[in-house]
Symmetry: C6
Subunit: 251 residues, 6 copies
């Protein structure tokens, strides 16, 4: 039987038949404002509550801001960092600035994927991480699409090889229907898409699991909310579109 | 509880649950003629009325013209400039011309983002600015899309770091559905879109908040007007499209 | 109160609330055959009838042909040229050919925007121009889209600075929905679009004002005709599309 | 009153209010198989019958083949060539081959627009041409779109300057809605589009006049046929599309 | 009266009014799996049965495979090759491999269009070919679209000049609506399109003649089948689409 | 009568009239998560059960992971590898890493198609392979589309020449309607497309055979499932779309 990692995100484990299969590398794809970073940090926080150490790789925000953003949902990671079961890899500041000097895991050159992987490996081993979130991988190949597949395969080898179950955040443009490009889509073990779409003057949030190696998963688009406790997915409801308007119906 | 900055723009604070969360950097995106510059200067003017100093970075218009445009809505900023609570950063003239010589904050080379940031920091500190509007950031990467994300992240670090709550105006083409490109969309803390669309022979103005870190916000598209007092948003009304015609309905 | 320039084009002043605000630089955008040159020359001719001198910059046609085209509508500009209240800037021939030698304002190198501006300034000053039409600005950046915004801003500074109220003709392709590119659209004070569209086997002419700084304007698409007296806009009628067919209805 | 050239093509003069205004340069645009070459040679043949000499510039076919193609419609131009009132400019063979040696007007280097214009001027003067057809101009800039506008303006100056009324054939791809590119569309005095479209399993031929300087013209899409006597346009009928099917109706 | 070549393909001669006009060069365009190679070889085989020699230029398949493919429809060309009335030009192997050594007409460098034409001319003369099929011309400019028109014109001159009636197979992508690019479409004397389209879960084969110089032709889309005897066209039936489903109806 | 290879995939042999014609090279095209790798390995596993040796070329996954993935469906290939009737060609690791050292067939430079073909030939001969799967060919030209056709033709020559019946997996993006590019689509003997599409909030899996040389095949789109025993195709059912919703109906 397949080993699974429970995300603890309300409704998500239900739609992937109990949790993400262990060692899977999942692409979490979505446009701006869809809740990708919240999903990723909620996954790590819930792991900490279940005794599973984790690592967050910050490529889009200052580590200080990451901690602030998490605290807004009541997720205070400082004690866990002090216990040595959680770590933030700073791949944002390049080590520049006062605050950066207090970070333990710093990637000096965020454009150097090799260095990033070295620091990440160290962090994973130090905390004994079982969960990793990289927010976002898109930054690593934003201006170099030709290297995207290579970067994702390299990360996958390390993350899966070290026994972690991980989420790679993939930023797509608001008008883009794909998941981050052909090289990336096929390399991942799983693909989860978060959407924010306008239907007749209303913005609607929904999630769909496109692919998840090693398990059955829901084949439906489910509505979700972002609350002050984090994301809540309505796995028993489905989003349907009729005549340009969205309807939330029982699944 | 989250600290907020009231925009004072009728109807807008209502749709972001009381105001923009402090230190947020908000992308204000829209096509030509949608009212972006009016929104930005109205935000600054209202700040002055509430005792909150501000800075306007002029990249699209001569500072003299900016003042004229504001005066057409009854917003005369000269007294506030003299009191040292408002400043215009001239990133338009390059210091060329008689009128430019009378400006206090001049960016000699408007294509040099480093210099722009230095002058901006000085102006923020001089007036003790709590609000900043950059009109527009698009100009900074119009012919160099690859640097867009870097420019926005640099600005964000400075603006948020100095404690201001700011608006970055993003110009999109009339036919473009996005907010200014993938690098820019994901870097901002908030995204507000102003639209001017033709439905069956009628032009309709509407506003939608796509994303606002740290607060709930309306998930609907609201109609707005440009009056001789500035923008008025009808937060209790929604724009819906049926059969190609737009209808304004109660929310 | 805002000063206005009356175009004298039947129906147009009505849809911009009395005329174009003084010193505005208006982009007049449209595909082939939409009547842009007629609109522009009619604006200048009407100015002459009201005692307002004008300048036409010819980038698409030989000045001789411009005069012939105007005469077909009964607009004979030669007497006004002789009185020194009207001028054509020849930015078409490069001074080559017998006819060109008889022109007073000749741009030797029509690809040199600097020279064009110098000649244009001279002409404006000589005739005391209050109205200027440049037909077309598109030619100035047809093969160099990256310079478009810079060219338009340069022209705007000169035209507005010298006190003229001007029209920049912008040629777009028949299949193009925009107004001439992002750099151009945002730089103009006003945008007027002329359209020629096929609906179910019928060609329909319409005009819409997308933006006009300093004034309210009609938010509707109005039908217009090209007659042997020039353009007539039906400001009291609207073009609506139902099921692929256009209907002209009372506004 | 405007001088006109009668095309003699059944139904066409009716839809341009009596004929093409003299000296106009008309872009005849259409996809493959739409009948552009037939239209052009029919225009020239009819001129010969009315005593108006003409020149055909062959860029797509061997001059020998042009004569064969015309003969299939009963239009034998050899006698007119011998009388010196008709000429074919061979811009196809480059003078290579036995047959080419018998041609009088040969462009040695068909990629050299300057040489083409020199040979064309000679031919126009020799036969005293009042009508010219260039089939096609697209070939002159097929791989160099940036020069398109310049080429068309150069031709226009010569053709109009020498007093001819001319047709420039513009080849567009079967999937292309435009007329041959922005530079070309705006430079022409007239635009006529020939279409061949599939509606629900039926191919339908239609013609529409998009623009014609100096005259009113039909604003409707008319059906036409290619018969063994050439093109016949049904100027009293209109093509309308309902639910994906084309209907031919009385105008 | 126009001389015609009977294709012998059931239903095809009917839709081109009796056969392809002699010396025409016909573009046979279609996506993958549409039956282009079958159509081409069936045309040649039927010629052999009527005593008309032919040449097949193999650019996509090994000549050995071409013979195998033909034999699957019962078309054994070996005896005709031995009688010297049929030839395959091997423009696939480059002369490499054992099997290639047994071929009589080999193009050493298949990327060299000049050599291909020399070998082709030799083959045409040797067998006295009246029919030629080149499968496919697309290969000749797959990575060099700028030379497409030149290649097709060169082939056309040779094929028509030597008195053959020929088919140029043009491969288009499954998603492409055109016939192989603007340069190619306009150069051909005829255009025949083979389609394989999905309508509501069913694949439907159809053929349409878009253009055929020198003859009238059906203006309708006809269904066809690929049987073990080759292609059969239902010239008395038409394919119509209603509400996304295809219907085969009497013409 | 055509020789066939039974895939053993429930429902598939039925839709290709009994099996894939021997020596065919079939393109198996689909987006991420459509089940391409499962289809390929199921084809090889079933061959082993029927006594037909096979080779899998691993370009997307580590050979170790390929074996793990197969075992999840109950397909344990290790005994077959030890008997010398199955082989995995490692074109993923480049021979780097401990696990790679235990692999027998390693391509040192996976970007070198020549080396890949040499190793592949060796593996085919060693095990006497009748079936080959290359997962995926897209990787071989991901950043070099111009070489795609050449690569596929080279592989085809080897695979067909050595008597194998093979599947080339082609990865397309989720938004792409084609099969992998024009060069690739036309080179294959067969094209099978696996689809995963969202209809009104539901993900639906379907398969369609677009082309299969040497045999009749179903012309319909059939639904399929991925179960813990592998793929099951419902060859007696069809997927139809009505009003944006998918319906599974009897064929």
């Amino acid at each position: 039987m397949v080993e699974r990692v429970k995300t603890g995100i309300p409704g998500f484990d239900e739609i992937v038949n109990g949790g993400i299969p262990k060692r899977n590398v999942v692409l979490l794809s979505g446009g701006p404002g869809t809740g990708k970073s919240i999903f990723g940090t909620q996954y790590l926080w819930n792991g900490l509550q279940m005794g599973e150490p984790g690592v967050f790789v910050a490529l889009e925000e200052h580590p200080v801001q990451v901690r602030i953003n998490m605290r807004q949902f009541g997720w205070d990671v400082r004690p866990y960092e002090q216990q040595g079961v959680f770590a933030i890899v700073d791949a944002f500041t390049g080590g520049i600035g006062e605050a950066a000097k207090r970070e333990k895991y710093v990637v000096r050159d965020p454009t150097d994927v090799g260095e990033l992987i070295d620091v990440l490996k160290q962090a994973i081993r130090d905390v004994g991480a079982l969960r990793v979130v990289i927010d976002s991988v898109s930054t690593l190949y934003l201006t170099k699409p030709a290297v995207a597949r290579g970067v994702v395969l390299q990360l996958k080898r390390v993350l899966s090889g070290l026994g972690t179950t991980s989420i790679l955040v993939s930023q797509v443009s608001v008008t883009e229907r794909g998941f981050g490009g052909p090289g990336v889509e096929h390399a991942a073990d799983g693909i989860v898409r978060l959407d924010l779409d306008e239907y007749n003057g209303e913005l609607v949030r929904s999630i769909i699991v496109w692919k998840m190696r090693g398990t059955k998963h829901s084949m439906r688009r489910h509505p979700f909310e972002i609350t002050d406790k984090g994301i809540i997915i309505h796995h028993d409801k489905v989003v349907r579109i009729k005549g340009g308007t969205a309807y939330i119906e029982g699944a």
